[in-house]
């Protein structure tokens, strides 16, 4: 009886884990496809407008990138697509964090937070050095 109950609890835990894996996988794939889709649009605009990859790409602020995206200039979708693509694994970690917090898995929630701290350190160090 106790063994059956333990197995039942284990099955339930494994089921919840599989749900989390499925949800996290779906979020990761969606973000990747959105990023690649934007980059594909940018690459097509490059070809249509005769922009060579060997021309230096303009450095854009977030506002410039949004304006270029709306104006359908190649650098707009390319810049936004690159940001979405680079952010997609981080989105996967954030969604895992939410899932682990909901499941009260403190240890894995802490691991997720530590990974996000490393990503934040990358941003801080990069912007600090660039400045």
């Amino acid at each position: 009886m106790r063994a059956t109950a333990a197995r039942g609890a284990g099955d339930h835990g494994r089921g919840a884990e599989r749900d989390l894996e499925r949800a996290v996988g779906r979020i990761l794939m969606t973000a990747t496809y959105v990023g690649v889709g934007l980059i594909a649009a940018g690459a097509i605009l490059m070809v249509l407008e005769g922009v060579s990859p060997l021309d230096p790409a303009p450095s854009l602020s977030p506002a410039d990138a949004a304006a270029a995206l709306v104006a359908l200039r190649p650098e707009g979708p390319l810049a936004v697509g690159l940001v979405v693509l680079i952010a997609s694994p981080t989105l996967r970690v954030v969604s895992s964090l939410v899932g682990y917090l909901e499941a009260r898995e403190r240890r894995m929630a802490l691991v997720s937070l530590a990974i996000l701290a490393v990503i934040a350190a990358s941003v801080v160090l990069a912007t600090g050095q660039a400045a």
Partner: protein, 291 residues
């Protein structure tokens, strides 16, 4: 326009080739961008990192949906690959281009020699170990040569390694996994590769993780590993959007096509051809390092 199309085609070829051989495209993108289009090596590494994020994102999503990748183990180890990658990216901006070219040549020679050994022993890797095609819903099973199952469900009281284990296998030697992950992160950031050539053997041979799970989990980890260094390359202007756009598009489409046609290709012939490409590219990189 011609250069843009050539870059898409080159990225496509790198994606197909890398996917068919289970190496990812990273090892081919850097030589393509540097030797093929004459761009600086550091810029090529940044572009390669974004390309591997794209291909690993699509395939890791499929692996997670099929429950082949071990999310707990992957997240625990990617904390260390990300830390290694952060350190590697900071070092990459301080290291001369020639040193990076020398390191890349050493990597190419290592992979070429590993492939020659595989060809001689006649144990060519299963081409199905490559990236799954996005949207592919075929079921996954553990391979017959995977380590025997030691247990099939988690005990009530468990160690950290137990908690990271999966159905049918038990994780061991966590310190080795941590050290291997740190090293994989550093070389990923320095050379623009996913780091699977380190992580997969460490997980499979050193930690007792079945080959398919190790491949899928390594693929999952590539995203965060490459992200922590790609952020530094991107924010410091090391990723040119006009170079990255066509290359990433080509690699992504190529990797998808390659993974769908893996079963129709003579893997041995492909490996012989790939060894020749690797040795030629290594020679070119050595020339660049000594120039």
């Amino acid at each position: 326009m011609t250069v843009g199309l050539a870059m898409i085609a080159g990225g496509f070829a790198a994606g197909v080739f890398g996917s068919l051989l289970g190496l990812g495209g990273g090892i081919l993108i850097v030589p393509l961008v540097t030797l093929g289009f004459g761009l600086p090596l550091r810029e090529a590494v940044g572009v390669s990192l974004v390309s591997v994020i794209a291909t690993s994102g699509a395939s890791a999503g499929v692996y997670l949906g099929r429950h082949v990748a071990n999310l707990r183990l992957g997240m625990s180890l990617e904390l260390f690959t990300a830390t290694g990658a952060l350190a590697g990216a900071l070092v990459a901006f301080a290291v001369p281009d020639r040193v990076l070219a020398g390191l890349f040549a050493a990597l190419l020679l290592y992979v070429a020699l590993s492939m020659i050994r595989t060809l001689r022993s006649g144990t060519a890797a299963d081409p199905n170990a490559t990236m799954p095609a996005p949207g592919d819903r075929s079921p996954e099973r553990l391979r017959p040569d995977d380590p025997p199952a030691e247990w099939s469900s988690r005990p009530a009281v468990s160690t950290v390694a137990d908690r990271l284990s999966g159905p049918g296998y038990r994780v061991r030697n966590l310190p080795l996994g941590i050290a291997g992950s740190l090293f994989a992160g550093v070389i990923s950031a320095l050379l623009g590769i996913g780091g699977g050539i380190v992580k997969v053997p460490v997980m499979h041979l050193g930690m007792g993780v079945p080959m398919r799970v190790a491949t899928a989990t390594s693929n999952l980890m590539i995203g965060i590993t490459a992200t922590s260094s790609a952020i530094i390359y991107f924010l410091r202007g090391g990723i040119d959007a006009y170079v990255a756009g066509p290359t990433v598009l080509g690699v992504f489409v190529g990797a998808t096509v390659g993974s769908r046609s893996a079963h129709r290709v003579d893997a041995r012939l492909l490996r012989v051809l790939f060894v020749a490409v690797l040795l030629y590219t290594a020679w070119q990189m050595i020339g660049r390092a000594l120039a």
